[in-house]
């Protein structure tokens, strides 16, 4: 396969193109890029090693650098979470999993924090029933939810649920929605995580 021609492309374009290409390959497969300066190669190296790929750079006759990045497990399409459709996370409680309530709440906090660290965070987060406690005053995950909004996530909370728990005035992140919209988003999701 011909390498991606990055000659004349300033940073961070080579890294962006490499990341795009890496999303389309399986673990063990390679992406090659031709860059015209050593610095661009070094930036590609930081990205590759940071994402758990293998990196190789060789000088060419024309004083360019031919960079080969071989996708590692963590960098493959499956692990980074990019799929064909929108990722929707539906959350109906303020804790994660079955077990001691303190641990379950800590796990939910850790889960939402982890979403902010993903290369491809979810496009939608839907909160209903006990999940309404996460988007309202007193929630320990508001900062992380704000981060997700900054990265383009749409956060909505079920209005009837806010009303039932008397939380309507206390909503701190995202907007109010109804069950019709929640049902619509869930049924049209590319991938749905239901918690």
């Amino acid at each position: 396969m011909e390498p991606l021609n990055m000659i004349g492309k300033p940073c961070p374009i080579p890294v962006i193109e490499a990341k795009k290409a890496l999303r389309k390959v399986e673990a063990g497969q390679s992406v090659a890029l031709l860059v015209d300066n050593a610095i661009a190669g070094q930036n590609l190296e930081k990205m590759a090693l940071g994402q758990g790929h293998k990196f190789r750079s060789e000088p060419t006759e024309a004083e360019y650098f031919l960079v080969t990045i071989t996708a590692g497990q963590s960098g493959s399409a499956v692990a980074t979470g990019e799929g064909s459709g929108d990722l929707v996370v539906a959350i109906s409680r303020d804790s994660l999993g079955e077990g001691h309530v303190d641990l379950s709440r800590t796990l939910m906090k850790a889960f939402i924090n982890s979403l902010t660290e993903l290369d491809y965070p979810p496009q939608y987060l839907l909160f209903f029933n006990g999940g309404a406690f996460l988007t309202t005053e007193g929630s320990t995950v508001l900062e992380d939810l704000e981060k997700l909004v900054e990265r383009g996530a749409i956060i909505t909370t079920c209005g009837a649920c806010l009303n039932f728990y008397k939380l309507t005035e206390k909503l701190k992140v995202g907007s109010i929605t109804n069950m019709y919209a929640i049902a619509g988003t869930m049924t049209q999701a590319g991938r749905l995580i239901n918690l």
Binding site: C11, P12, V15, I16, A40, N43, K46, K147, E150
Partner: protein
């Protein structure tokens, strides 16, 4: 033809690195005129020439290609950046000359906008533009040569720090990362605005707060990144300790670093500086912040720690993001110049 369309990079990210620069400079004749109070030997922000007992001339020049699409804004940023070197020497700008490179094929209205933006900032600084020089070039570039005045006993160099000093930084870091992300369409309008507001902010207001304090050293943060200037301040005698969590950051900067949207200039800074600093405790993204090239960055101020809180309070009235970022300590044998934790 748009302002950025034929630029390969913009702002202070295009600066020639200090190592490369010193290679060229070492062949220049050494000047030993006693009236030259600050010359290029100490890689300071501007040259200072003794005029009389109570006056010295501060002289500096700065120009670069655009880092924003809006020509008026580019003019304002370039002027704020050029004026900054005078403030970093403790001076007050009085006179400025425009430097212009402009493509023959580009709409001259754009040039008018650039110059108008620059003139606004020079006026805000209380100085006057008294002419300039313009040529045709493939890439647009703009900047100014600025002359200022300073009292010879109030000159603030970049190398006067002492053990026991605290370090204040007056602007947020991450300009290079945010502008890089903006060029590939990944910065939100809020993130972009926070960066441009910071770049066009005059360092005048922070500099004016310095009088009355026993300030040991000042510089402005540039394309060499925060770490470049910390190493410079540490010199051979001191060890600078910086706490990463106290650094003021532009919104989005750390996220873009986390997404590997690294700039070329930051990597050049890394290659140049990593031997002089211990940053092993920082994640790769946090490391990128301290290597990030700043266009029109803030002032980095060194003064006795006991006075730092009071100065910080005064600066924060107009520049609320200013922070106390670290301390100057005695450098023990074998210690790196800078440690960032």
């Amino acid at each position: 033809m748009s302002l950025l369309s034929n630029c390969t990079s913009g702002g202070c990210g295009v600066k020639i690195g200090p190592a490369e620069l010193s290679r060229f400079l070492k062949n220049l004749p050494r000047i030993s005129d006693p009236r030259l109070l600050v010359g290029f030997e100490s890689s300071d922000d501007a040259a200072v020439w003794w005029l009389s007992e109570d006056q010295a001339l501060v002289s500096t020049v700065d120009f670069f290609p655009p880092m924003v699409e809006d020509p008026h804004l580019f003019g304002r940023i370039a002027a704020a950046n050029a004026l900054s070197d005078v403030y970093a020497m403790g001076g007050r700008p009085i006179l400025a000359l425009n430097l212009v490179c402009f493509p023959e094929k580009m709409d001259p209205v754009i040039l008018g906008e650039i110059l108008a933006g620059g003139a606004e900032k020079v006026q805000e600084a209380g100085a006057v533009i008294s002419g300039g020089h313009s040529i045709y070039d493939h890439e647009p570039k703009y900047g100014l040569a600025v002359t200022g005045l300073v009292r010879p006993d109030r000159i603030l160099t970049n190398n006067g720090s002492a053990a026991g000093d605290g370090l204040i930084l007056t602007k947020s870091l991450g300009v290079g990362l945010v502008m890089g992300a903006n060029r590939v369409g990944l910065a939100s309008s809020e993130q972009y605005c926070a960066a441009t507001v910071s770049m066009e902010r005059l360092n005048r207001y922070a500099a004016e707060k310095l009088s009355g304090f026993e300030v040991h050293a000042v510089t402005d943060v540039t394309g060499f990144g925060l770490l470049g200037h910390l190493v410079e301040m540490a010199g051979r005698s001191w060890a600078v300790n910086v706490n990463f969590d106290s650094l003021p950051l532009l919104p989005g900067a750390l996220d873009f670093a986390g997404d590997y949207l690294f700039t070329a200039a930051a990597q050049r800074n890394r290659n140049q500086l990593s031997g002089q600093a211990d940053i092993s405790g920082l994640s790769l993204s946090k490391q990128e912040i301290i290597f990030d090239p700043q266009t029109s960055g803030g002032l980095l101020i060194s003064l006795p720690l006991a006075q730092a809180e009071e100065l910080l309070k005064a600066i924060r009235v107009d520049d609320p993001q200013a922070s106390l970022i670290g301390q100057v300590l005695v450098r023990r044998k074998g210690e790196p110049a800078v440690i960032v934790l």
